[in-house]
């Protein structure tokens, strides 16, 4: 009985490991995308599954596209200067997103603190909401420009 239990547990562990490795390999294959292909059908697909495409979708897809150029620089035949430029764009984009995350967290905390009050101040709330949306959409706008610049480098 003990032996059967051990064999079953081991089989399950092996099966789980195989599935995990396969999933990781699949993830790696799907990790790279270039230009328009990163964005095709993203909106409608997400809408069908989650109901509302959030700004996250844009940020994640933008970083994925930029990272793809860095990862596949040799395959794309980029020269040293292009490689350096693409890397710089990607690094700057990452920094921008990290900075925005910090700002958004602190403003959202302030918004939440105001909302906990018995009578929240609408003007203060309006200010926080505007700040959140400014940081969020300015980040997205900057990322769109980064992508435009990276794509124009690839064309050359």
């Amino acid at each position: 009985m003990k032996r059967i239990t051990i064999v079953t547990a081991l089989s399950l562990l092996i099966a789980w490991s195989i599935c995990a490795v396969k999933a990781m390999a699949q993830e790696e294959v799907n990790d790279v995308c270039f230009k328009a292909e990163c964005w095709k059908e993203e909106g409608l697909t997400r809408l069908a599954t989650t109901g509302c495409p959030t700004p996250t979708l844009f940020i994640k897809t933008a970083l994925r596209e930029l990272k793809s150029y860095v990862k596949a620089a040799d395959d794309l035949g980029l020269n040293a200067m292009q490689k350096a430029k693409v890397q710089k764009i990607y690094d700057q984009a990452n920094m921008l997103v990290i900075k925005a995350q910090g700002q958004l967290q602190s403003i959202t905390k302030l918004l939440a603190q105001e909302m906990v009050k018995d009578v929240p101040n609408k003007n203060r709330i309006k200010g926080f909401v505007d700040e959140i949306e400014d940081v969020c959409w300015n980040t997205i706008s900057a990322l769109a420009k980064d992508i435009h610049e990276a794509r124009s480098l690839i064309k050359k």
Binding site: E42, P53, P55, F58, T61, Q105, V119, I140, A144
Partner: protein, 170 residues
């Protein structure tokens, strides 16, 4: 056989005691957002992972708060006029959410479609982003205003009662 019966009896006892211990005038799950209490544990991890607070994080809190007042009407001793006003406000808020989300969805699709063309126009994309910013801001602030208005329908005593009730279950 005997051990099965004993474990069954123990399980039934545990479940029953759980039911009786939890017995309260209102479902705790429904009312834990009363008077803005669910803003205390806003999921900051989600914001960290997602980069921007998606409108739904805020909207969900608002709806939970507004639904909570009506779910706890007897406990809060709401007058018929108060209930009527709260229902009207919630209806207005639902309309706002549906309208705002539809606009956001359409604008988002346009933005993603633009990005899905190899040579997109930066100015067109920027224009869509500013429309999204405006729509998002209007929706989020609009629903927050409704939640604050709903809170103000309650008397200070009712708000205190709601807070005192939610505080220990958080």
């Amino acid at each position: 056989m005997r051990s099965i019966i004993i474990s069954l009896l123990v399980s039934v006892t545990v479940i029953m005691s759980g039911i009786f211990v939890n017995a309260s005038p209102v479902s705790k799950k429904k009312v834990k957002c009363l008077a803005g209490m669910c803003w205390r544990d806003l999921d900051m991890k989600k914001i960290e992972e997602q980069g921007c607070p998606a409108p739904m994080i805020i909207i969900n809190n608002i709806l939970r708060e507004m639904n909570g007042y009506l779910a706890a009407d007897k406990f809060l001793d709401l007058k018929p006029d108060q209930k009527k006003e709260l229902r009207m406000l919630r209806h207005r808020c639902h309309r706002k959410i549906i309208k705002g989300k539809s606009l956001l969805n359409l604008l988002s699709i346009n933005l993603l479609d633009d990005m899905a063309t190899n040579e997109f126009s930066v100015s067109e994309v920027d224009d869509l982003i500013s429309q999204l910013r405006k729509a998002c801001s209007q929706l989020v602030f609009g629903v927050i205003q409704d939640a604050i208005d709903a809170r103000m329908i309650l008397t200070p005593e009712q708000r205190k009662k709601a807070r005192d009730f939610v505080e220990p279950i958080r």
